[in-house]
């Protein structure tokens, strides 16, 4: 049992951390493992074990957000109210700005970005976890990235180069 926990703890916690935020990640991850251990005997094997565990993780995270009453969708009007990050913000590494922007995404977009781009799962795996078609997954990923680009502002590539340049100079 403990072996199963250690095998999946990082990914489960990482997914929870980036979907619900750092303050609630431990609670959600614990809930996931309790469900895994109590449900493992009834696991029917109709998907890979990892797929099942990650599905539990995403569902638990999204349910947690719904219970907490976070906003499910931000319309275009909502996005326009967010301040556009300054391109020349010297002290903010791109990574921390990406984390901030990720937290501002609607939960569904956040989930697909975390699964595919952060955790590196394939489209097929993401579709199995989210229980949707692969085409739907790809479409959601495209929209999620588009929202991220809006939140991060223009010239993300230039921001990345500035961060790299700053790191190089400080070394």
């Amino acid at each position: 049992m403990e072996m199963l926990y250690h095998q999946y703890k990082r990914r489960v916690f990482g997914m929870a951390h980036r979907i619900v935020g750092p303050s609630d990640a431990e609670e959600v991850a614990q809930e996931v493992f309790v469900r895994v251990f109590r449900g493992l005997a009834a696991f029917r094997g109709d998907s890979a074990l990892s797929t099942w565990i990650y599905r539990l993780t995403v569902n638990a995270a999204l349910s947690h957000l719904a219970r907490r009453g976070r906003r499910q969708e931000v319309g275009d009007d909502g996005l326009s109210e967010l301040p556009a990050p300054a391109v020349t913000e010297r002290d903010s590494a791109l990574a921390s700005r990406i984390e901030t922007a990720l937290a501002l995404l609607p939960p569904g977009y956040r989930a697909i970005l975390v699964l595919h781009d952060v955790e590196g799962l394939s489209h097929e795996e993401c579709a199995a976890i989210l229980e949707c078609r692969i085409g739907t997954c790809k479409s959601q990923l495209h929209k999620a990235r588009a929202r991220m680009r809006e939140l991060l502002g223009p010239n993300i590539a230039a921001q990345a180069m500035q961060t790299t340049g700053a790191t190089g100079r400080s070394d």
Binding site: M1, L4, K9, G14, L94, R149
Partner: protein
């Protein structure tokens, strides 16, 4: 002719390497000529790379203790439940939603209908196949040289052929899926096995051999899947609980 409106929606797939051959070439060709789309592509790549490079997050050391505490609390709660509620909970584990009385009836009716329809459909396929073959020999005129299907096409399911093939392929997919799960659980069980005593290891090995023999000797299709599910249940118990002897039904 490609435009920015047709290319930009494809950039995500292009940056992920999902566009091959001509599709990829079309996008690349447009990017060579369009500075605006090139910038969007650069930003998309920087975002993709930035997400990939986000550092992994380590769980706190206290998390395992929290899991154990919650499991213990859940088991205490189970022990306090009246027997009928435990039975309902056992049934609910196999249902996709929390059961209520009306849903019991609806779920049971739906399941029964699905089983009947599936049985009727597979039976109908079995009935049709021999008839389709039997029809051909009793035709009085030779078949048209270009006709590849027998006469009386109404007896052969045409619109349903794809569905029939899909249904016939389902058992093989299920068997393969179970085999993959067994492989994953075997890895976990093998790791757990290293911490067992000799008696437990022997019990596990004996039971495992018996279950594997059951799978090997079972007829393809449902009998083999039943045997696979038995092995899956055994491996799940071996991984979740170290009580291998109890799972194997042996004496301690």
């Amino acid at each position: 002719m490609t435009t920015c409106e047709t290319i930009q929606p494809r950039l995500t797939a292009y940056l992920d390497g999902d566009l091959d051959g001509e599709s990829g070439s079309v996008v690349r060709g447009h990017l060579r000529e369009c500075a605006a789309c090139r910038q969007v592509a650069r930003d998309g790549a920087a975002l993709r790379d930035g997400l990939r490079l986000l550092p992994p997050v380590d769980p706190p050391m206290s998390m395992w203790a929290g899991v154990q505490a919650q499991l213990a609390a859940a088991e205490v709660a189970d022990a306090r439940k009246p027997r009928w509620r435990r039975t309902v909970a056992r049934w609910a584990r196999w249902a996709p939603w929390p059961p209520t009385m009306p849903q019991y009836a609806a779920g049971a009716a739906l399941a029964a209908t699905a089983v009947v329809m599936l049985y009727w459909r597979t039976q109908r396929v079995d009935e049709l196949a021999p008839d389709a073959v039997a029809v051909a020999p009793i035709r009085t005129e030779p078949p048209h040289p270009l006709r590849t299907e027998p006469m009386a096409p109404a007896l052969v399911a045409s619109a349903g052929d794809d569905v029939t093939a899909d249904l016939l392929a389902e058992p093989a997919r299920t068997t393969e899926s179970y085999a993959q799960v067994i492989e994953e659980l075997m890895k976990l069980a093998s790791e757990a096995r290293t911490a067992w005593g000799d008696e437990q290891k022997a019990a596990f090995d004996t039971r495992l051999a018996a279950l594997r023999t059951g799978i090997d000797h079972a007829a393809q299709g449902r009998p083999q899947q039943r045997a696979q599910r038995a092995l899956i249940r055994y491996l799940q118990l071996a991984v979740v609980r170290d009580d291998v002897m109890l799972a194997g039904g042996g004496a301690r």
